[in-house]
C-alpha cells in the first residue's frame, strides 16, 4: 500500500470458500472413483471362481441327477421289448432288429437331449450370475460403498455357488412297440422258414402294420 492508499481484497473469504469447495469436490470425486473401483474389484474377486470348471461341475451335477432316470427307463424299456418280442416269438426277427435299433436310437437321442437340458441349465445359471453381478454393480454406483457391496457380493456368490440342479423327474422317455398278433403269426411263419434253413432269408423283411406304439 502506498502513502495515498492501496487495494484490499473485498471477497477473499468468499473466494477462499469457493476454492475450498472446489478442492473438496475434486477430492470427493477422486475418492468416489477409488471407492467404485474398489467395489468393482471386490465384485470381481467374489465372482472369480465362476469359470468353466465350476459350470462343468454344475452340468455334471445335473447329469448325475438325470442320467440314472434315463438308465432306469432304458433298462425297463429293453426288458419290456424283450418280453413283447418273446411273447410274439420274434426275438430273432427283422421286427426285433428294427425295434431294438429304434430303442437304441431313442436311448442315444434321449441321452443327448438330457445333456442338452443340463447344458441349458448351465446357461441359465450363467445368466443368473451375470444378472447378480449387474445388480451389485448398480448398487455400488448408487451407494458408492465398496465394503457393503463387497460383503453382499460374497454372500450372493456363495448363494449362487450353492445352486442346486432343478430336480424335476424326466417323465416317459421311451416308446416300446407293441408286437401284435399279425406280427406274431408272421414271425412264426418266418421262424419256420428260418429253421428249415432254406429258402429266402427272413432277414430284410421290414415290419408291417401290426406295430403299435404305446405312449
Amino acid at each position: 500500500m502506498s502513502k495515498f492508499g492501496g487495494g484490499s481484497a473485498s471477497n477473499s473469504a468468499a473466494v477462499a470458500a469457493q476454492q475450498a469447495a472446489a478442492a473438496e469436490a475434486r477430492a470427493r470425486e477422486a475418492e468416489r472413483k477409488r471407492r467404485i473401483n474398489e467395489g468393482l474389484g471386490r465384485i470381481e474377486t467374489a465372482f472369480a471362481d465362476f469359470t468353466d470348471p465350476f459350470y462343468n461341475t454344475y452340468r455334471t451335477a445335473n447329469l448325475d441327477y438325470l442320467n440314472p432316470q434315463l438308465e432306469d427307463q432304458y433298462e425297463d424299456a429293453r426288458r419290456e421289448l424283450t418280453f413283447r418280442l418273446a411273447r410274439a416269438g420274434q426275438l430273432n426277427s427283422q421286427v426285433a432288429a428294427d425295434e431294438l435299433a429304434d430303442l437304441e436310437r431313442q436311448y442315444t437321442e434321449r441321452g443327448a437331449e438330457i445333456t442338452n437340458r443340463a447344458d441349458q441349465a448351465v446357461g441359465a445359471l450363467k445368466d443368473r450370475v451375470a444378472a447378480t453381478r449387474d445388480t451389485l454393480t448398480s448398487q455400488l454406483y448408487s451407494t458408492e460403498d465398496p465394503e457393503t457391496t463387497g460383503s453382499q457380493a460374497l454372500s450372493r456368490a456363495a448363494t449362487l455357488r450353492a445352486t442346486e440342479p432343478t430336480l424335476e423327474p424326466l417323465g416317459q422317455l421311451f416308446q416300446v412297440a407293441a408286437i401284435g398278433l399279425g406280427n406274431y403269426l408272421r414271425g412264426q411263419e418266418y421262424g419256420d422258414l428260418y429253421r428249415a434253413a432254406s429258402g429266402p432269408s427272413l432277414i430284410g423283411q421290414r415290419r408291417e402294420s401290426g406295430r403299435k406304439v404305446v405312449r
Binding site: F4, A22, L100, N116, G123
Partner: protein
Amino acid sequence: MCDPLTIAGLALSAASTIGTGIAQNRVAGMNRRAQEENVRYRESMRRAELARQEEQRRQANEAWAQALERSSEPAQTEQLQTEQQRLSDLFNTRPDPVDDQGQIIGDVLLSGQDSDDERTRQAFATSLAEEAGRARDRIEAMATLSAYGPSSGGLDRFVSQNLAESGRDIFRTQSFRRGGLNALNTELAVEPIQYDYRSTGLGEILGAAGSAATFGGSAGVGLPFLPKGWNAWLTQPLFGGSSAMAGAGFGRNYLATPGIGPYWY
C-alpha cells in the same frame, strides 16, 4: 494570484490527485492480475478435466470397439462353430453300436437273441447302424440349433455377454466423466479476488489543504492559523503590481494583474 500560497495550494492539490491516481491505478492493476490469474486457473482446470474426459472417452471407445470386434461376423461364425463342436462332443457320448466291419459292439442285443447266426447278426447290425446314423444326424441338428441360442455358450448368450461386459466398462467411464464434470463446475465457480481501493486519507488531506491554500491565496486572506505577517508575505503576488484578484467581501480590488490576464481564474 501568483502568490506563494496559491501556488503551494495548487501543488498540494496536484500532488493529491497524482498520488491518489497512482494508488488507484495500482489497485486496478492488482484486479487485472487477479482476473488474469483466475482465467489461467480456470483454463488449467478445464484442460486437466478435458484430459481426464478424453482418457475416459478413449477407454469407453476401446471397450465398445472390443465388444464389436468380439461380436463381429467372423467372431460369431467362429464362436458358432466352436460351440457346435463342443455340443456335438458333449452330446455324442455313446459309441456306435456297430463297428466299421459291421460287427455289433458290446452287449446291445436283447436277452435271448441269437448272436451266433451270421444273418441275424447282420440284420441287427444293419438296423442298428441305420438308426445310429439317424440319431447322429438328429443330435448334430440339435447341436447346431442349440449353438445359436440356448446352450451355455450359445451365440445369443455369447453376444449378450460381450455387450454387457463392454456396457459395464462404458457405464463406469460415463460415471467418472459425469463426476469429473461436476467437480469441474465447482472449480469454475471460483471467482477472481476483487481488490477495492482504500485511501489512507493523505490524498484527501493534501487535497483539502491545497484547496484551502489556493482559496486563501487567491482571496488574499491567507491561512487563518498563520500569523498576519506570514499571511501578508504568502499572499503577496510574485509577479506584477500590488493588485490581485480577490474574492468578494474581502475588501480587495478585482483588477487583473497586467500581462497575466484574468484567465488565471
